[in-house]
Amino acid sequence: MTTDALPAGPTLAVEGLATHFFTKAGVVKAVDDVSFTVSSGEVLGIVGESGSGKSITGFSILGLIDQPGRIVSGAIRFKGRDLRGLSENEMQGLRGDRIAMIFQDPMMTLNPVLRIDTQMIETVQAHRSVGRAEALELSRQALDQVGIPAPERRLKAYPHELSGGMRQRVAIAIAFLNKPDLIIADEPTTALDVTIQAQILFEAQKLCRATGTALIWITHDLAVVAALADRIAVMYAGRIVETGTTDDVIDRPLHPYTRGLIGSVPSHAGRGGRLTQIPGMTPSLIDLPAGCAFRDRCTVPIEACGVAPGVTSPRAGRHVRCHNPQFADVAP
């Protein structure tokens, strides 16, 4: 893949992506008009509740949307090339090589009946014609890189012989194995202990900075992205409702939903005080009614919310999809 022209712009630019699922019950607009960019060495955090379309966004980029789902519109420009125009064979060549993915549950992502070395070597050999010995050495280095002690021994192990944190490190090592330009991490620390979480976050961040890999970190945990991401995109009901640099979004959230998310993080409330919560639950994505999808749960709805809001930029570097963005400081 060295033949690619050097990219002038971002590593990945998603423009107006829409992925819909055509079920018997109706059309599920899992991802609707989503746009964002992520550049080399940058970490983009995509935050949202379960069912907000974050994972589907990740799978759409990799071209791993299965029936009855389909990308219906938009462009996914990876180093200037629109991935939607590529054949399945070309996509297969990119997956695991230039774009890698890390999944949520490390207990489920590694194949239980294959040894770690088998699962790593095949990843190398799927994309490069190297011998077994060389692929094995690369695998050993990759395990070493993510802080796995005694990598030679782990290579001979089966997944069930490793702990959850160890398995997720292996998955991360596999993702970094071919030195990809982009890694999509889909809630990779959700299933892990808090201490392990912190270690994994640290390793991932360090590796991205060192290799210049762009990283998309999908999570529902605002605390995680606050510690990790350079920029944040907040997703709600299949749409990105707010973007900006991490500090800016956390300190000065514009969208009422983002405010709700920040308010419901325990560390933010005073000791013994009541946590604020967002009333209601995420709407069903089947035949979403017209207008803003958040208005039924919103604390500050106005009349204009009956019409779906467009994206506006009320401040430099900030984008929000809301008719009534909030500018007042967040109560501590």
Partner: protein
């Protein structure tokens, strides 16, 4: 591993003992073989002589103990009908049955697994629906009828394959089998297919249900995200995960076929063990029946042992030592 195998063999001795006892008592209740064996013209003195010669004048428990005494030295008694030792009588017919069962096992794997995979991967297609419907036929059509129809179509009407009997044999690596000759395969194909029918259906259904379950697992999606080829994902990642139930069923069925391929052997006039068993039961030839069933027990034990070892090869989480069954 060794301890595991030894424990298994001890269990098999226990099963063989219980089984032989049941057969002894059962055969005693069913009837007296003597009037089947002797010439209807013979007088009482001749009948008494035969009874004494066969040892049937002794009480049942004594007959059983005598049998056990012989069994320890490897002698399972003489056939009432043939007058010769029962064991060689059976072993002589074993290769024919073994090769038939083996050929049908191969057919079940070669036909069943690919069709099951296809039906699991593309469940919505017409071909998949046809495969699944066909597998129901495989379950429900009686073996004897299908066998007769096969002879009708392939042997009589089309004349492609011979209808009955076993083909010429050849010896390779010390084994004599008709599977080593092309002509032999022509003979074995129809009976093996007939025998494989039920197994093919079972394998299709097991492979299909395993596939449609495994295909949604994260490790398959992860394998796709790694950019692996489709053939590697299906052939290695998926297949190795779904083979355990298939191996279980094939193991059981393989034993069944060696021991009880009676119907198919009869229809295709295959010179195997199944027909010997039937004729022995008809003539109440107890030594042959007991010897036959002991061989069957041993065979099942060995097959189950192989299946358990295959489990541990397929799935590293299976530990042989922990199993108490």
């Amino acid at each position: 591993m060794t301890a595991f195998i030894i424990r298994r063999l001890m269990q098999s001795v226990g099963v063989a003992l219980a089984m032989s006892l049941i057969v002894f008592i059962g055969m005693h209740i069913v009837g007296d073989p003597i009037y089947i064996l002797v010439d209807p013209q013979s007088d009482q003195a001749e009948i008494d002589a035969t009874i004494r010669r066969l040892g049937l004048d002794r009480p049942l428990w004594e007959q059983y103990l005598l049998f056990l005494k012989g069994a320890v030295t490897g002698n399972l008694g003489n056939s009432f009908v043939h007058g010769t030792s029962a064991l060689p009588l059976i072993l002589e017919r074993m290769p024919a049955t073994l090769e038939l069962a083996f050929a049908s096992l191969i057919l079940a794997i070669v036909i069943g697994i690919p069709l099951g995979l296809y039906a699991g991967l593309y469940p919505e297609t017409v071909a998949s629906r046809a495969i699944m419907a066909g597998s129901i036929l495989g379950f429900s059509l009686p073996t004897f009828w299908v066998g007769i129809m096969m002879i009708m179509v392939f042997a009589v009407m089309l004349g492609w394959l011979p209808s009955t009997g076993r083909g010429p044999t050849a010896t390779y690596l010390g084994m004599t089998s008709s599977l080593f000759t092309v002509e032999g395969w022509r003979y074995v194909l129809l009976p093996a297919l007939n025998l494989a029918l039920l197994k093919v259906s079972l394998v299709i259904r097991l492979t299909k249900s395993g596939t449609s379950e495994a295909i949604h697992q994260d490790y398959i999606k992860f394998a796709r995200a790694k950019g692996l080829s489709r053939s590697r994902i299906v052939g290695v990642h998926l297949l190795k995960n779904i083979l355990i139930p298939v191996v279980t069923v094939l193991g059981l069925e393989f034993g069944n076929q060696i021991a009880f391929a009676v119907v198919t052997e009869t229809i295709f006039a295959w010179p195997g063990m199944g027909r010997l068993l039937i004729s022995s039961i008809q003539s109440l030839d107890r030594p042959v029946i007991v010897a036959y069933l002991i061989i069957t027990v041993l065979m099942f034990i060995v097959i189950n042992l192989v299946v358990d070892i295959l489990y541990s090869l397929l799935d590293p989480r299976v530990r042989l030592g922990e199993k108490s069954a």
